[in-house]
């Protein structure tokens, strides 16, 4: 016979698997242990977290639902109310404001809206909060970088999967550079030559990959090579 708390957990999991519209998911990790779950949801639109896939570690206490579930992000998140180191969450509905009519689903929904509405005046991570207050643009950039890197968020809002055109172009260029310093090559590309032409010219002149700044004399020879002189 399962405990009252287990029966409610089972009901909640059934409700959530039936309801596909909310976008909130939760599943057990080990079927023998109903008190350790993993929750998942997508980062909300119009935020740096957009379309990221965020995972939350959920521990249900023995007297659940009378005590709140213990939740922390297992995906790394750059957000003032979430520890950038441990994923610990500062949210009143998961502590003092918890009541037993709230559920795992409503708690995950609260986390999703926390991503939309960061509250730097009541921080969990002081470093993130300071950055958000002093340099909001840098905060947004870093939050986005983290979402792309850790939460597998698409790197542009339009594209749902894979690297952006810009990123692919950069990757392509890096391949063509064949180890040559990008700044060295850019200087000749600015004259209108392609990456591969510049690399060939550099090699012909005897410049090795990884070599630092070119002397004026060498640069001149490379330019001449490129111009076919």
């Amino acid at each position: 016979m399962s405990s009252p708390s287990q029966r409610r957990i089972i009901k909640e999991l059934q409700d959530m698997s039936r309801d596909t519209s909310s976008g909130m998911e939760a599943s057990v990790i080990d079927p023998q242990n109903m008190t350790h779950l993993i929750g998942r949801f997508k980062g909300p639109p119009d935020t740096p977290y957009e379309n990221g896939e965020f995972a939350v570690d959920i521990q249900l206490p023995d007297n659940y639902p009378f005590s709140p579930p213990k939740m922390k992000f297992s995906t790394k998140v750059w957000h003032p109310n979430i520890s950038s180191q441990t994923g610990a969450i500062c949210l009143d509905t998961l502590s003092a404001k918890w009541t037993p009519v709230l559920t795992i689903k409503t708690a995950l929904l609260s986390l999703q809206s926390l991503l939309s509405a960061p509250e730097p005046s009541d921080p969990q991570d002081a470093e993130v909060a300071t950055m958000m207050l002093s340099d909001p643009e840098a905060f947004k950039r870093k939050a986005r970088e983290w979402a792309i890197h850790y939460a597998n968020a698409p790197s542009t809002a339009q594209q749902s999967r894979g690297p952006s055109v810009e990123e692919r172009r950069q990757q392509e260029k890096e391949r063509e550079l064949q180890g040559y310093d990008e700044r060295t090559v850019d200087r000749f590309m600015d004259m209108g030559f392609s990456v591969s032409d510049v690399v060939v010219a550099l090699r012909r002149v005897g410049v090795r990959p990884g070599q630092g700044r070119l002397s004026e004399e060498v640069a001149q020879r490379v330019a001449e090579k490129l111009l076919g002189l």
Partner: protein, 86 residues
């Protein structure tokens, strides 16, 4: 033809006077069912109707009210929970 009834067995059904599909917000079981700790529905596992309009299995609500963190508030609307005498 004359039919003489010698005996009969009366059967009655009952339900709580609440909307049919409603569940207790605490245990998520139908009001007509019991709280998770009881076996028989009915007067032994009654409902409490709050003045705020929110109802729960009495046992579920008492479990909540007896926790320190409840501060005596309705889990639904966070007003002071006072039940309607019935």
């Amino acid at each position: 033809m004359k039919v003489k009834i010698k005996s009969w067995i009366a059967v009655a059904s009952w339900k709580w006077d609440v909307p049919e599909d409603e569940v207790c917000g605490i245990c998520r079981v139908q009001f007509d069912g019991t709280c998770p700790n009881c076996r028989f529905p009915g007067d032994d596992c009654a409902l409490l109707v709050g003045k705020c309009g929110h109802s729960f299995h009495m046992h579920c609500l008492l479990d909540w009210i007896n926790t320190e963190s409840s501060r005596g508030l309705c889990p639904m609307c966070r007003q002071k929970f006072e039940y309607v005498e019935q």
